[in-house]
Each structure stands twice: as structure tokens, then as C-alpha cells.
Symmetry: C2
DNA sequence: GATCAACTTATGTCCGACCTAATTTTATGT
DNA sequence: ACATAAAATTAGGTCGGACATAAGTTGATC
């Protein structure tokens, strides 16, 4: 098991590399900075970077696991009497209130960096697909059976999150303020989740 | 302008390279075959392959444009009195009847090849995202205004197609017959599109 | 304090993507 | 028919990311 110093150093090194890399990427663009340059700036060898981060994209999306598990956790921990849609909608409002980073609200430079890099966009798509699949698995675990319908419900719920995140990214790129974006997202979420209400509003109310 | 022979030769070369490549990929796996090997097998130089196909994945998904434009075309060409959902649902049934290749029904080997290659899966995600965006643009063009709601509707419609295609891929990998898969997809489509009925069933009925 | 395990490094290979210049093939005008 | 222009193809090279291996270094443990 991790013994004090060694493990702490690892986390420090990891974070230092990730922070420096993200700053360099935001500054010069993801594809314009090589792993070697990141390694040099961080004062480590190239191999150390690739040891910590299996893929270059991981330098940017180090906390992808939280996004991937987010929706499934919300569904799994919802209170009795709450439907899937209610839980996801309630959680979105809460995330907005606490300015959760996973909603896609970011600095103009970060948003532009992601939007202009094919590699990062691909990674975002993969993360969102995994989130949807994880959500579908959580729903399937609750209903006891996997099915196309379960995956459709998961897809619809995840799609709302995804479309709202895209809107957040768009507004971030446009340079809007966090408060401005949050207000817009709150209004948009009303409409978006409301659209699903007649379809899956009563789906899987927890007993 | 394209003058007979020259253009025809190009298309022949392009198709020959693509066919040989797909066969080699299906046989040995996408990542196990290099572009050089494809070039050798096709009797051309490596540069010729990369001239025709900007990315290695394009050797497999040469007709991506058809998938990307499919839903938008369906929506844009639907008849008066038809809603968005009705048009997409009707078209799906028609595509199923004609065993359209874009539905995801394929040979076991092809399905396995795609499913086991991270690069190909990434390309599939990109194609599906582009299809959704193209559909959203078509809907926005009709309503006269883009919005989060429009993108949500596009996302929901595209999601059904995507979930059904994933099901097709899963069954293809499992070695089910085309007829077997078509029957399962027809039934699944009933449920999947039916789920959206109360949400967007009356949305954008063409006048 | 010596030993072991884990972390880091140096070095090198492989492949996809890309570039440039040279060569071959096709099309066109006289 | 032939020369010339245009386009396709080729050869050879660079670069970066991913990966493998072995050697070196540092922290942990008895």
C-alpha cells in the first residue's frame, strides 16, 4: 500500500506535469506542443510523462472518471419516489449551483483549445460515450435486464447533458462570463429536460 | 474538369486500394496491418494510399458522407403532414426493408474488426456526431432558428439510430444472420421510436 | 544501514502523418 | 502526330506519439 512520501511525490509529479502541460496547450494549442516539450518544461524525462499518462490527451482530461461515473452515481443514489429524469434534472441544477467543472463551463482559452484539437474532441466523444454506457449499465442493474429501451433512455438523458455541455463550450469560447453562462444553461436545461418529461417522466420511480 | 479515362482510373485505383485494405483489416485486424502493407498488396506506393485517403480509417469508412447526410436528407425531403419523428421512423423501416448498409448490419468479421479497433471506434463516433449536427442544422434551417431545443431533438432522433446501430453491431458480432438481426431491429425500433412519440411526436409537422 | 521494490531515465524501434522534389502518365492544342 | 502542359504517382525523408527494454536512482522496510 502507498507509504507516505513516495506516493505523495508521485501525485505531486503527476499534478505538476498535468498543470504545466495544460497551460502550455492552452497557450500554444494541443497539437503544437510535443510531449518532449512538456517533459522539458516539467523537468522530467519524456518517458516519465508517458508513464504517468498513457495518452497525450490524458494530460488534459485527467479526471475523466468523474464525468464517466457521474450520471450512473446520480441514478444509483437517488431517493425513493424519484424517477430517473427527476434525479438527473435535480443533479444538473445542483451541479450548476456549485459551478461543477464537468458541465463544460471553462475559460475561453481552454474551450478554444479543446474545440480546435481533433485529438481532444475525439477524447471528449469517448468520455461521453463511456458515461452513457455506464449510465445504461446502472439502469440495467436496477431493472434487472438490459435492452435497447434501457439504452435509449440512457442515451436520451446523456444527450441532454451533452447538448448542454456543448452549449456551455460554445458560450465559453465566445467569452461569456461564468454567471452569464450559468443563467443560460439553467434556462436551457428547463426546456431540455422538460422535453423528455412526457417520454420518460414516470420511468423507474424508485420505490 | 474530369476527362474520362483519367478520372475513371482514379476511381478504380481508389476502390481497389479500399477493397484490398478492408479485406486485410478484416482478416488481420485494423491495427495489425500497416499502410505500407496495404500499398504493397495493392501494387502502389505508400504515398499513393495516403494521397487518396488522408487517414488510415478512411480506408474502411469511405462512404461516411452518406451516413452523415442521411437523417438530414430524410427530414428535408419528408412529405407534408409528416412530423420529424414520423419521417425518421418511416425511413428507418424502409432502410431495414432494403437492408441498407448504414444500419450497422454487417458480417461478423467486419463488426469485430471495428469493435476491436480504438481508431475505428473513434471514427465511428465522429461520423455519428457529424450526422447529428447535420440533422440539427437541417431542423434549424426549417424552424429558422437554432437553439438548444433543436439540438436536443436532433440528438434524440440520432440517438435512436445510434442505439439501434450498436445493437446491430452487437448481433453481427454474435454471428446472427441478417434476417434474424433485421427482425430484432424492427421490433426494437418500434419501442425506441415509440418512446419518443409522447415527447416529440407532434414536433414540426410539415405544412 | 543494507536490501528490495518502485520510480525514473536513456535508448531505440515502429508506424501514421506530412513534406518536397522527381518521375511517369494522361490530356490538350497545333 | 507530336510537343507541351497538367495531373498522378513515386522515392526519400522528417516528425511526433506509442511502446519496449535495460540500466540507474530513490524511497521503504527489516
Amino acid at each position: 500500500m502507498p507509504s507516505g512520501l513516495r506516493e505523495r511525490r508521485k501525485q505531486e509529479t503527476r499534478l505538476a506535469i498535468s498543470d504545466i502541460a495544460t497551460a502550455m496547450f492552452a497557450d500554444q494549442g494541443f497539437d503544437a506542443v510535443t510531449i518532449s516539450q512538456v517533459a522539458d518544461a516539467a523537468g522530467v524525462s519524456k518517458m516519465t510523462v508517458t508513464n504517468y499518462f498513457a495518452h497525450k490527451e490524458d494530460l488534459v482530461f485527467d479526471r475523466a472518471g468523474e464525468i464517466i461515473d457521474g450520471l450512473a452515481t446520480v441514478v444509483a443514489t437517488r431517493s425513493p419516489g424519484e424517477s430517473l429524469l427527476d434525479a438527473v434534472r435535480r443533479d444538473y441544477a445542483a451541479a450548476l449551483a456549485r459551478s461543477d467543472a464537468t458541465l463544460g463551463i471553462s475559460s475561453q482559452r481552454f474551450a478554444a483549445m479543446v474545440a480546435t484539437s481533433p485529438v481532444l474532441l475525439a477524447r471528449v466523444r469517448e468520455i461521453l460515450e463511456l458515461r452513457e454506457q455506464t449510465l445504461a449499465a446502472a439502469i440495467a442493474a436496477e431493472t434487472g435486464a438490459d435492452s435497447v429501451l434501457v439504452r435509449c433512455v440512457a442515451a436520451q438523458l446523456a444527450a441532454v447533458h451533452r447538448v448542454l455541455a456543448a452549449e456551455a463550450s460554445r458560450r465559453s469560447q465566445a467569452g461569456q462570463s461564468r454567471e452569464e453562462i450559468k443563467a443560460a444553461l439553467a434556462a436551457a436545461a428547463e426546456h431540455a429536460f422538460g422535453l423528455l418529461e412526457p417520454a420518460i417522466g414516470g420511468y423507474l420511480v424508485r420505490r
